[in-house]
């Protein structure tokens, strides 16, 4: 018999799992008693990884492992509750990410629980893929490999793996070699191949660490180190640390045609034409004139002269080359030479501390050559694992069509994609969080990967599959004595015991099995003759990457940090360009290149040259699952697909732009107005002004105004009328709100500081909040009204502003007019941008509280503004009265499995945090300051007998300062968010709240917020006059 393990998530999820566990226990027990033995599948509701005595229902286990979402190899701590992974967090001891984690890393859980994952092996029968058994699938694979081997065709077989570091590539090559197959291609469409090659040649390290703190000037030539270029988390940690110094922080200049997130974090933007960066670098190096460079770049000569002077004067600079052009390699080489000449190597650019993430990576050229071979009928068998070259290559490569010429294609991918759907046999791999593995992110340090839970579906780790295949071949069996891949790994680090000892941190000294990657192909695509008025920048999406994140609703619903677009593909253009062709935001335009065309709504973006267009890659999948269908596929536009190093040239395509017969789509964005209208929400101050003691906005104290200082309990800014007896200020009975009350409930004032000098706007906090607080995504096309919906398609709910992000990243342009009216001035193209994370401010004097008719929102003695879901009747008055607009309403039953709007289709709901209620329709919700974490810490302190009673008879909760933090603060790769008790001097937040840059948003409304922002610090050019 089959036991149904589906878990319904109704009102509360905290008890559900236990209840279901008992239910299933009862059912299976009864079934066993009745039937005796059963022939069907028996699934386990609590898949034990560790011996049962370690799994206490309702108490989390934590497993250290390695993130596989990109090549970086960050360390993870995965929280597992009742046998299910529920949260991915950064490993604080890991050398790469030091406890932080980006949005993509956190979304690994939605890959693990992706509802579109293959649930068992599949094989092709006719046009359809049908489920099969592992025995059958393995037999088929062994037979085919044996065939290849016996015919001596091995050298012509191709294996394309998603690039990963660690021992697996070498292990895989070993098995492949046994069948006479050439080493696999380790493809990563996100790898900046040209830069890697140039760095290797110049520094002797493909990805040197950059010490931004040591620099006084950072210049990025299109190197989007905060957008996902390279290793996003360590780069952001280093950058934010440097900028957080305030005094002595480096000034940052960004050179590039489009201001990416990295560009928006720069103090100055030089909008050089695509392809002109090299001329600018040469001008700095003294190999060309500034005037010629300015001419090539299409910007004022003063800008270039200023840049040249600044780099030459800089004490220590960090010059970084990215760029999407065909000369990316030359640019990187020139920049490396310049770094050497300026003496930066060893100071800011540290090859000795480099990252090994991209060792042995293959680029676009390899895929093209492979497609050519496939087209020529030379490839008898193709094996792919996780890589998706049918999607992530230029249309000129014709990878998908070439696959049809391959007689037998095998995929090891665990989620469907354009490549896998064309395969004949699918042997779904475990997800990274179910697998054994390792990575060597920095030299000499192994980051281990261990399963965090039993497999969700009937999948097998590819390494084990290969092992089984090898063992099935009599000539190879002797070489593989280990039982499984875990055994192989254990043998590599000196035995099982060593492995066990290393697992608590998943870090161990050592190095991964080395692999001789196949030599890069020398073949280069001949640049086609192109015409077109505009240069098209197809950029890797900061949220979806090359498209691999597209079927994760968290990432689809995470607004792009720059454009704030979600669930949609737009054509970005400068307002001047939009005026020229007569379109406004949302009107459809067609971009045509030599490779293809794409029709999508226009979006004006002021951070783009008028002669360039930009489209984000990653959306518009045809076969990658239900969520991935949103948007359009920009890969199909790439005409000049390769740079001279064989990497994807994403920004070298010429395009024409035309209005598409006046049709319009609603822009799916979370942005209302992109300007502050002088309201001082995200404040910034120029460094000289700060040093001169100017405060800028805020901090007006009027006579008679209540103190905004953080104090415990009733003396907190809540003021005396919080809960006094009938509001009498000096009332004797204030209950728990009295700091002297025996419960000690009013001892603390939970608060948060956010340092805008560090915040880059990356939005990792947003996804952390979704993961921690069971926030539903609402943008899927089926999550709207059922009858006569007036808005349809992906993002329909978002066009009505119904996204649920408890924390959002506001991105404000500091411009004096609407973005659509901005004119491009090559002499003064610059504008400031301020980011600010906005969440419930937990006001001491909260406007939402008095208006709720049923006390569903009220003030807790510890300063929290509490929302009681069970009590809420949904009048929404609280949201109306909230100046910060941080309250979110359940317009539909997103938490109800029986509705089309259900946000957690099986098994996505396995991820739900049992400590947090899944909200029902018709109620309000908002940031709770992770109250479940506060409670957990208090309970832990009590259990560890730290709580006590003071001399005055008041209970002391016994929390250690900074003992825990909120999900957003924990994930933040900028370390900008600090949470804690502002009433206790021993907590860091209390110190930060007194910083000279501290301010409250809308202080004039007397809300006495618990969130303190620290002004961003701008670093103007040394000679420029001081402007805030």
């Amino acid at each position: 018999m089959t036991v149904d393990t589906s878990v319904s998530e109704t009102g509360s999820s905290a008890g559900v799992k236990r209840r279901d566990f008992l239910k299933v226990l009862g059912v299976s027990g009864a079934a066993t008693a009745a039937v005796g033995c059963s022939s069907g599948d028996v699934e386990k509701l609590i898949p034990y990884l560790v011996s049962p005595d370690q799994t206490v229902p309702g108490v989390s286990n934590y497993y250290a492992t390695t993130c596989r979402e990109c090549a970086a190899g960050c360390g993870l701590i995965v929280e597992v509750r009742d046998g299910r992974a529920i949260k991915a967090e950064g490993n604080p001891e890991h050398p790469v990410n030091r406890g932080a984690l980006c949005a993509r890393g956190q979304s690994s859980l939605q890959g693990l629980y992706n509802p579109d994952r293959y649930r068992q092996p599949m094989k092709r029968e006719g046009d359809a893929l049908v489920p099969t058994t592992w025995d059958d699938a393995l037999q088929l694979l062994s037979a085919k490999l044996g065939e290849v081997k016996s015919r001596g065709q091995g050298r012509r077989v191709a294996f394309v793996n998603q690039h990963e570091q660690g021992s697996f590539p070498a292990f895989l090559d070993g098995v492949l070699a046994g069948f006479g197959i050439a080493p696999h291609l380790s493809y990563d469409a996100e790898a900046p191949v040209a830069v890697l090659q140039a760095n290797q040649a110049a520094y002797g390290a493909a990805w040197p660490a950059v010490d931004f703190s040591a620099a006084s000037l950072i210049v990025s030539f299109g190197a989007d180190f905060l957008d996902g270029w390279g290793l996003p988390v360590p780069q952001q940690l280093a950058f934010a640390e440097a900028r957080g110094k305030v005094e002595g922080a480096p000034r940052f200049i960004y050179v590039g045609a489009r201001r990416s997130l990295t560009g928006l974090n720069a103090d100055q933007w030089i909008p050089a034409k695509p392809g002109s960066e090299l001329a600018i670098v040469n001008a700095i190096a003294g190999k060309g004139s500034a005037a010629a460079a300015a001419e090539a770049a299409g910007v004022g000569v003063a800008l270039i002269e200023g840049l040249v002077a600044e780099v030459r004067k800089a004490r220590a600079s960090a010059l970084l080359a990215g760029g999407f052009g065909q000369e990316a390699g030359e640019l990187a080489t020139a920049v490396a030479e310049l770094n050497k000449a300026r003496g930066n190597v060893g100071k800011t650019i540290k090859p000795s501390e480099g990252y090994l993430a991209f060792e042995g990576v293959a680029g676009h050229a390899e895929m093209r050559v492979l497609a050519e071979r496939m087209n020529a009928g030379e490839v008898p068998m193709l094996l792919v694992r996780h890589a998706n070259p049918a999607y992530t290559t230029a249309p000129g490569v014709g990878f998908a069509a070439a696959m049809a010429k391959v007689p037998f294609k095998v995929s090891f991918s665990s989620v469907p994609d354009e490549t896998t759907s064309r395969c004949d046999l699918i042997l779904p791999d475990h997800h990274g969080l179910e697998s054994w593995g390792d990575a060597e992110p920095v030299k000499g340090r192994l980051s281990l990967q261990q399963p965090t839970m039993d497999p969700v579906f009937d999948t097998r780790q590819t390494a084990d599959v290969m092992l089984a295949v090898a063992k099935a071949d009599p000539s190879l069996a002797s070489k593989y004595g280990v039982a499984d891949y875990r055994g192989y790994l254990a043998s590599r680090i000196g035995g099982n015991q060593n492995l066990k000892n290393a697992l608590p941190t998943a870090l161990v000294s050592g190095s991964a099995a080395s692999r001789t990657a196949p030599a890069r192909t020398a073949s280069r695509a001949t640049a086609k003759e192109q015409s077109g008025e505009y240069t098209l920048l197809a950029y890797l999406s900061p949220t979806l990457g090359d498209g691999r994140g597209a079927n994760k609703p968290w990432l689809q619903e995470l607004p792009d940090p720059v454009t704030k677009i979600l669930w949609q593909t737009v054509v970005e253009m400068h307002p001047e360009t939009a005026k020229q062709i007569g379109v406004a935001d949302g009107e459809l335009v067609t971009v045509t290149t030599a490779a293809g065309s794409l029709t999508a709504p226009a979006l004006v973006y002021i951070g783009l040259r008028p002669d360039t267009l930009a489209v984000a890659l990653g959306r518009g999948h045809t076969a990658a699952g239900r969520y991935a269908e949103a948007g359009e596929n920009a890969w199909q536009l790439l005409a000049a697909a390769e740079d001279r190093a064989g990497g994807a040239a994403l920004g070298a395509t010429k395009a024409t732009l035309a209005k598409a017969d006046g049709k319009k789509q609603r822009i799916v964005t979370t942005e209302g107005s992109g300007r502050q209208h002088g309201r001082g929400i995200a404040q910034a101050i120029a460094l000289p002004a700060l040093l001169a003691g100017e405060e800028g906005h805020g901090h007006h104290v009027f006579e008679g105004q209540a103190s905004t200082e953080f104090l415990p309990g009733l003396r907190s800014p809540t003021a005396n009328d919080a809960q006094g007896e009938f509001g009498v200020p000096n009332s004797k009975d204030k209950g728990q709100y009295d700091p002297e009350h025996w419960s000690g409930a009013a001892k603390r004032r939970w608060a948060m500081t956010i340092d805008l000098a560090k915040c880059t706007g990356c939005s990792a906090c947003v996804t952390a909040c979704y993961a921690e607080n069971n926030i539903p995504t609402v943008g899927a096309s089926w999550q709207g009204p059922v009858l006569l919906p007036d808005r349809t398609g992906f993002g329909a709910n978002v066009t009505r502003g119904r996204e649920m992000a408890w924390i959002r990243l506001e991105r404000y342009w500091e411009i004096d007019r609407e973005p659509k009216d901005v004119v491009f001035d090559p002499e003064h193209p610059d504008f400031d941008t301020n980011f600010i994370p906005m969440m419930c401010q937990h006001c001491g004097n909260a406007p939402c509280e008095p208006v709720c008719p049923v006390y569903a929102t009220y003030h807790a003695p510890n300063g929290l503004n509490v929302q009681v879901y069970n009590r809420c009747v949904g009048t929404r008055y609280c949201s109306n009265n909230c100046p910060y607009k941080v309250r979110y309403y359940n317009w539909f039953g997103y938490g109800d499995p029986n509705r089309s709007q259900y946000a957690f289709p099986e098994p996505l709901h396995w991820q739900l945090n049992p400590d947090v209620t899944v909200r029902q329709k018709g109620i309000m919700e908002k940031c709770t300051f992770c109250v479940q974490r506060i409670k957990e810490a208090e309970h832990r302190a009590a259990l560890e007998q730290r709580a006590s009673v003071g001399e005055d008879g008041v209970r002391i909760d016994g929390l250690r300062p900074d003992e825990f933090t909120t999900a957003c603060a924990q994930a933040c790769p900028s370390r900008a968010i600090v949470f804690g008790d502002a009433a206790d001097e021993n907590w860091s937040v209390a110190k930060w709240a007194k910083d000279r840059r501290a301010y409250h948003v809308f202080e004039e409304l007397n809300t006495y917020t618990a969130v303190v922002y620290l002004k961003k610090v701008n670093h103007p050019a040394p000679t420029a006059s001081v402007t805030a």
Partner: protein
């Protein structure tokens, strides 16, 4: 008394005083016969009732669908968390004001022109408040928990938050509904007795007898009746002012730009009377024509009420201007931005519908000719109804869509569900009203009889009835 050629062709006495005359109405029998003749159902009435019920059915379907699916089926666009339902709520509460004003305040002021219209206006009040009262329930996310807003003893000792204007609303609306229903009913007692006396069906006769409290038309009864009526009029008078003041607190107590202003209570009360009179016209003008009541509701009556409308229109217009002035004078940036956006920005069309209908068109009533033109008054009443609905739209939607946090600025577009419930509310209102006009006299028989000259003075010099 001479019969006039046309009932509309009248002298123009000052009927704002109690000195009112209905020259074409000469005898008590005529009053009874003409007004009670209305009670006979007609095909047109059945058709109208069916139409009203069809509209109500549409609204009911929309509401059931909304309860099942969630409020997302309506056009809400956060931060515009209140929309058509709250607008319609305030609209109907406003409508509900004219009835009590006419029957109570004008009674106390002895304004004669109320006599023939007050019954219809009072019934309109009760039904309008019944309609309005539904909308807060329609509007909330979990309507089945509505009773949590009502303070009732419970073992959890959880009470509503008495600081919340929404709780005040509960009190204001229920009080108003209770008082206005009582007032309507008490006024009806002598008239029900007339119906009872003419009723032949024994069951109906019994019911009517019960409803008339066994009225026997004695001196003592009349004395008590007059005192009770006066008392209720005095009791209702403050409610006219307080209910809409409380409703205005829903907005004025918020700190939303465009809401947070002390002018709201008087402004809302004036607006409510304004809209209430417009709705009275919308109902009375066709009624006097279709039911042949032009000699009861004469041009003099319309003229007098038109002056009332003109006055309240000027008050409302002044309030609009003061809002702009204070926004400028107060120097609060949020308010200034908001008012600019309201009138010249995103919501210019709604604001100008409001200003045109409520401030500009009613100025035509300075012309006596137009004041005495029922067709124009009816057309104007429709404009005012639309204008007053848009006044609430302009208060609710633009304020929320343009709050202090620019990142969350948004727009608002109702869906078919919003419209279905709006139409349904009219269906509900008119269903009750249509049922009323065929069950109970739509004009106060007893009060009309009071103002027509007693027969005995003219026909019989000796003896009486």
């Amino acid at each position: 008394m001479a019969t006039l050629a046309h009932p509309d062709d009248l002298r123009r006495p000052n009927i704002a005083s109690a000195d009112i005359q209905l020259p074409a109405v000469t005898s008590y029998e005529q009053v009874d016969n003409e007004i009670l003749a209305i009670l006979k159902p007609t095909k047109a009435w059945f058709a109208s009732l069916m139409l009203a019920i069809a509209c109500l059915g549409l609204g009911a379907f929309g509401w059931i669908y909304q309860i099942h699916q969630g409020l997302g089926v309506a056009g809400y666009n956060p931060p515009v968390m209140w929309g058509v339902y709250i607008i319609t709520f305030v609209f109907w509460v406003g409508i509900g004001h004219a009835g009590t004003l006419i029957s109570a305040i004008l009674y106390l002021f002895r304004a004669g022109f109320r006599t023939t219209i007050y019954r219809a206006a009072e019934a309109m009040t009760v039904f309008a408040v019944m309609t309005a009262g539904l909308f807060p329930i329609i509007h909330i996310g979990r309507p089945w928990k509505f009773f949590w807003l009502i303070p009732y003893p419970n073992w959890r000792l959880i009470w509503p938050n008495f600081k919340s204007p929404l709780v005040w609303d509960v009190f204001a609306i229920t009080t108003y509904l209770t008082i206005s229903t009582t007032f309507l009913f008490v006024g009806l007692i002598p008239d029900i007795a007339v119906l009872r006396d003419r009723e032949t069906n024994p069951i109906r006769r019994k019911i009517l007898g019960f409803l008339s409290f066994g009225w026997r038309n004695t001196e003592r009864e009349w004395r008590h009746f007059a005192r009770a009526y006066l008392f209720l009029a005095a009791f209702s008078t403050p409610l006219v002012l307080s209910v809409h003041s409380v409703v205005s607190f829903d907005f004025a107590m918020g700190i939303v730009p465009g809401w947070h202003t002390t002018i709201f209570p008087p402004y809302f009360v004036a607006g409510a009377i304004f809209s209430g009179f417009a709705m009275v016209w919308t109902i009375i003008i066709p009624m006097r024509r279709w039911f042949g009541l032009r000699h009861y509701v004469t041009l003099n009556h319309l003229d007098a009420s038109a002056k009332m409308v003109l006055f309240t229109s000027l008050v409302v217009g002044l309030a609009y201007m003061i809002e702009f002035f204070i926004a400028w004078y107060g120097g609060v940036k949020y308010e200034q931005d908001y008012f600019w956006n309201r009138v010249f920005g995103q919501w210019w069309w709604a604001a100008w519908i409001m200003l045109t209908c409520n401030m500009i068109l009613p100025l035509s009533l300075f012309s006596q000719k137009l004041r005495r033109n029922p067709t124009w008054l009816w057309i104007l009443s429709i404009f005012i109804n639309i204008g007053m609905w848009f006044e609430r739209f302009v208060i609710v939607v633009p304020s929320l869509s343009h709050d202090v946090e620019p990142w969350q600025w948004s727009s608002y577009m109702p869906t078919w569900v919003d419209y279905a419930l709006l139409i349904g509310s009219f269906g509900w209102f008119f269903m009750w009203f249509l049922l009323f006009v065929k069950q109970l006299p739509v004009m106060a028989l007893a009060e009309i009889k009071e103002i027509i000259p007693p027969k005995m003075k003219h026909t019989h010099s000796h003896g009486g009835h």
